[in-house]
Symmetry: C2
Subunit: 261 residues, 2 copies
């Protein structure tokens, strides 16, 4: 069983898209996957066709129950079935934006998500956590609960610059809270190899970080199909199964399976 945290504080790099697509890729290899939406924007919840406004219970209720130590709501109470029998979803809604403040004065405030996932770890092969674009307490919770970190990175200059901020946070969590946390790798998303900029950013990133961190061999091409898929409540693998984008995420899935075997 592996918990993979999908994070990058730079916004719009493809965290949610990667979480949904990787879950589907793993399910095609008959793996049981739990997707956790750990972002109050609830993009992952929305991407799977669920309306966050209609939910009476979300991961925020489980978090609150743990903070109050009253055991009233467990992760099983909020987990939803999806259209795919191998994928379950722990949804989020805007209430999760309260969590950052709620956690401030809580004992071992970095370990609440880890505690939340504890009861169901054995029921899944993979648990994927889709993070919000920040470096705050919620992200530290995700890094503390994870076995591995996958870093989607848009192949552009500003996103690359953001990497220099993310890595120290990961290292701090490894040193102080979660020594077994490993970096699964950097996944280049929205790449357009016809542009020099995209190729240069990939080159420079590999040179700067490639000796310490794995860079996935597969890169995800830019395609409007990715924008259309969440509007249809599907991942790219269902929405456009024969597209380059879907194929690329299947290859990423194989690289992940290979690393974790």
């Amino acid at each position: 069983m592996t918990v993979i945290c999908i994070t990058n504080q730079k916004g719009g790099v493809g965290k949610t898209t990667t979480a949904a697509a990787l879950a589907q890729g793993l399910s095609e290899h008959n793996k049981r996957v739990l997707l956790v939406d750990w972002d109050s924007q609830a993009s992952l919840t929305v991407s799977l066709g669920v309306n966050p406004d209609n939910l009476s219970l979300t991961c925020y209720d489980v978090l609150t129950s743990i903070i109050k130590n009253n055991g009233r709501i467990s992760i099983r109470d909020v987990t939803l079935k999806t259209g795919n029998p191998n994928i379950d979803l722990v949804p989020a809604n805007i209430e999760l934006s309260q969590a950052q403040l709620d956690l401030v004065n809580v004992l071992t405030r970095e370990l609440v998500l880890k505690e939340m996932l504890q009861p169901v770890r054995k029921e899944y092969d993979y648990i994927l956590v889709d993070c919000l674009p920040s470096l705050g307490l919620l992200n530290v919770n995700a890094l503390s609960a994870a076995d591995s970190v996958l870093i989607p990175l848009q192949s552009d200059f500003l996103a690359m610059k953001g990497l220099a901020l993310l890595l120290p946070t990961i290292i701090r969590v490894q040193e102080r809270i979660n020594p077994s946390l490993e970096i699964l790798g950097i996944l280049f998303t929205m790449t357009n190899t016809r542009t020099l900029h995209s190729r240069e950013v990939i080159e420079v990133t590999k040179r700067a970080f490639g000796d310490r961190i794995k860079v996935f061999d597969t890169t995800i091409p830019v395609s409007v199909r990715f924008k259309e898929a969440p509007a249809a409540g599907m991942t790219i693998l269902t929405y456009a199964p024969k597209s380059d984008g879907a194929e690329a995420y299947r290859l990423v899935t194989e690289e992940v399976l290979h690393e974790k075997s």
Copy 2:
């Protein structure tokens, strides 16, 4: 004098790009502009060619000085000149990520940025605040300090969905803290009118929100030049002055000037 907050909790929609380009557009109309980087990722600081790691003082130091009420560091102490005589920059670095927690127990914690800008309001025609992708205390500070809100919106489904979360936060700030806050408008960025998806999202957004909120007539086209410009430490107006992207931001500037006159 107008303070414009450029915000959207959805990541990667073009907040930083819009802040830098609009500042330059306004400077071409001989307006004095102060750019405030209110994001610990410091994308705006980086975009203007400044290395956040080399800064001994940033907006975080002014914030801390206000919280401690010791008046030691004022906004003038951290303001940098840029290559453009009409544009100054209040830079940020990763330390700003501490601010969310520092502010929790501060009296009138929503008004710290407003207090920070107070001493220099008269010296500029426009103050533009580039916000981080969140709905937390730092964003509430920016909305509380602002006269107007400009909402960059990538023309895609997930970004559109995020709008329904942002608007209630703006309304809450208008009702409880800053009644004179107005919404300047929604600016569509990274549009690709050749795709149906982009056109549909613009259409649906106008229908859903257009009666209450202005949608800028100008939309910003998707172009790799936008990714290259920050790598060169320039805005699109300097990096590719005759490009469609630069032209589009000049038109946006005129719409902003027209609204505020």
